[in-house]
Amino acid sequence: MDLTAIVFYLFSIVTVGAAAIMVFSKNIVHSAFALMFSLAGIAVLYVLLYADFIAATQLLVYVGGILILILFGLMLTEQAVTQKFKAVTVNMLPASLLAAVTTVLLVYAYATTSWQMVMPEERSETVYDLGILLMSDYILPFIIAGVLLLIAIVGAILMSTRLTAIKNEEQ
């Protein structure tokens, strides 16, 4: 096994293992941190796939941004401290059945399909090409994504300000 293989297997195990911990852990804060490891592991997989910019974005946006948001959500809804004794799951049986079936089906489909592969391109970096693409072929989606983010920000702020307004009225 060469280095790439070792790194791949190691981080696949980290990623999937952390995801499993996330799903099955009873403590939701533990879950959040397991998710962090899982996302970071995925970033390493991206690096293995020669997607350096995406890997960096993954770390910045997911590990740095979304995860913090989730932790904020946890703190604001005070789930870390209360109600430890209740069951944390519902529909356990159908959920695990469905998940298992999905896995089997997907793996079967992946393994039996004959993919039309091309020899992997050796790229030193993707940032330059991605930047060119973003500013040429993908300029419209790029702008729309910007508008979407703006709308999301405005919407999130609006919803949370209404929230404080409701709370103030209650007091």
Binding site: T4, V16, V23, I66, T77, S160
Partner: protein, 111 residues
């Protein structure tokens, strides 16, 4: 048997990445379907999005999809960020209205 497994393990190719993504997808599905806490459900959604991203990027490396795959993955990340922000605002609203974040306790329907 020995001969079958060794080359299979030796070099990670397209299918290996796809299988990792399939595992992540079903774990995400588990979280979405079975956890009571709405924030856990959100985390499950993030996991599913990530598994889709692995697929896209794996295809971008091994098939003729090339850089386009990475591009789409980039947009997925952008949209996931927007989704997380809005979803958490919704969760906060939900929490202030129902005083719980457990999805199975929130079942009042209009009409």
């Amino acid at each position: 048997m020995e001969l079958m497994i060794t080359p299979w393990l030796a070099e990670p190719g397209l299918v290996h990445f796809l299988i990792v993504s399939a595992l992540l997808l079903s774990l995400g599905l588990m979280a979405v379907l079975s956890r009571r806490n709405v924030i856990m459900v959100l985390m499950g959604v993030e996991l599913i999005l990530n598994s889709a991203n692995i697929n896209l990027i794996a295809f971008s490396r091994y098939t003729s999809l090339s850089l386009e795959g990475q591009m789409i993955a980039l947009f997925v990340i952008i949209i996931a960020a927007a989704e997380a922000a809005v979803a958490l605002a919704i969760v906060l609203n939900m929490y202030s209205r129902f005083n719980t974040v457990h999805l199975d306790e929130i079942d009042s329907l209009k009409g």
